[in-house]
Symmetry: none
Subunit: 205 residues, 2 copies
Amino acid sequence: MTKRQEEVLGFIEDFVKERSFAPILQEICDHFGFKSPNAASDHLKALAKKGYVAWSPNSPRSIQLLVRRAGRPGRTDMVTVPLLGRIAAGHPIFALENVEDHLELPRQLFRGRKLFALKVQGDSMTGAGIFEGDLAILAAQPDFENGQIAAVVVDEEATLKRLYRTSRGLRLKAENPAFPDRVVSSEAARSCRLAGILVGTIRRF
Amino acid sequence: MTKRQEEVLGFIEDFVKERSFAPILQEICDHFGFKSPNAASDHLKALAKKGYVAWSPNSPRSIQLLVRRAGRPGRTDMVTVPLLGRIAAGHPIFALENVEDHLELPRQLFRGRKLFALKVQGDSMTGAGIFEGDLAILAAQPDFENGQIAAVVVDEEATLKRLYRTSRGLRLKAENPAFPDRVVSSEAARSCRLAGILVGTIRRF
DNA sequence: TTGAATACTGTAAATGGTTACAGTAGGATC
DNA sequence: GATCCTACTGTAACCATTTACAGTATTCAA
């Protein structure tokens, strides 16, 4: 592949990436300043001959890219956030068996380093604007500050609650009058692990 | 989306999956046995109006799928979503002077193509779990379906409300008993523009 | 130094594909 | 009973896009 052909192929790749369909000959010409559609056509014939692209005769925008080349570097720094399902009490939170899916999110969107996501179940936090089906984004952290919302693993289950330290132990407060507070004594607190604190929510309509 | 429209959309998805470019109208017609290209054209117009596809006029094979339904792998490409501030009634929504900031989001996180964001002000939609300070992600669309939450520009201001078509005009319903409904008559509807429909929210704690 | 490939310009024909306009029929809504 | 939306048929105009044909200049290998 010549240098020029590589440039043309690169342009087509970029075009497809951005618009999700291939350019017409004229658009290739416009980009490079060619004054005849045959300039683009010639390049495509060469690329087809060498196996980089294919297209159907008489069909606009039918160019197919046949070779996947090294991807260009992305500008935004992304984090892959695991969407966790059931969190078993005995297992480490990030165990592979817990991972149901992955989200790719821009790193700077939410604060915190070790991020993970949970799908909200139940209505215990509706008072804080957190509803069933929301994605809760959490930062894995060993500690919390009074009044923060966090995911706590108690009895083999992860629940989202507002946390307070009290003289009698840990207080888990739901943001919904229908759900009573729950106090975990300091002794029992060993069977109760802080999974992470809430840094954000995402809801899709 | 009607059953037939879903079938057409499904065919386009399959076609793109297999051949990596969109079909022409005639190919859609061939598949369904339509005898006029307008049959396919009509379906596409309906799908476009509802935000499922987009295409460029006079451009063969330029149909873009806007909603990711079946869990396609696809690498994460990003959209730059403008965070809009004050939306002046006379100006185009995307006017540069409106843009306060930009968000980089994974394209497949929210459906819709022309995305923009607004910072929620006020408590009129708390019943729908939308609170002051939330980022509302909206898709610019010319039309809506009954009951959808949308940003409407009335009197130089953008408000988020649930929309209904009624015999007397457009009904803007707040999701908070403290805020009364508002009905915009068909005549006054000219001074009231649909900016976009709500596709998601993001909250940062 | 000849031939073959690359890298284009320029014009025009041919055709592929979209769109416009007109119309039919059924179902839903009010 | 009027009106609107869906779901098509049919014809034809319009134009977008490809392709054919003819030609120039440069590079590179045999």
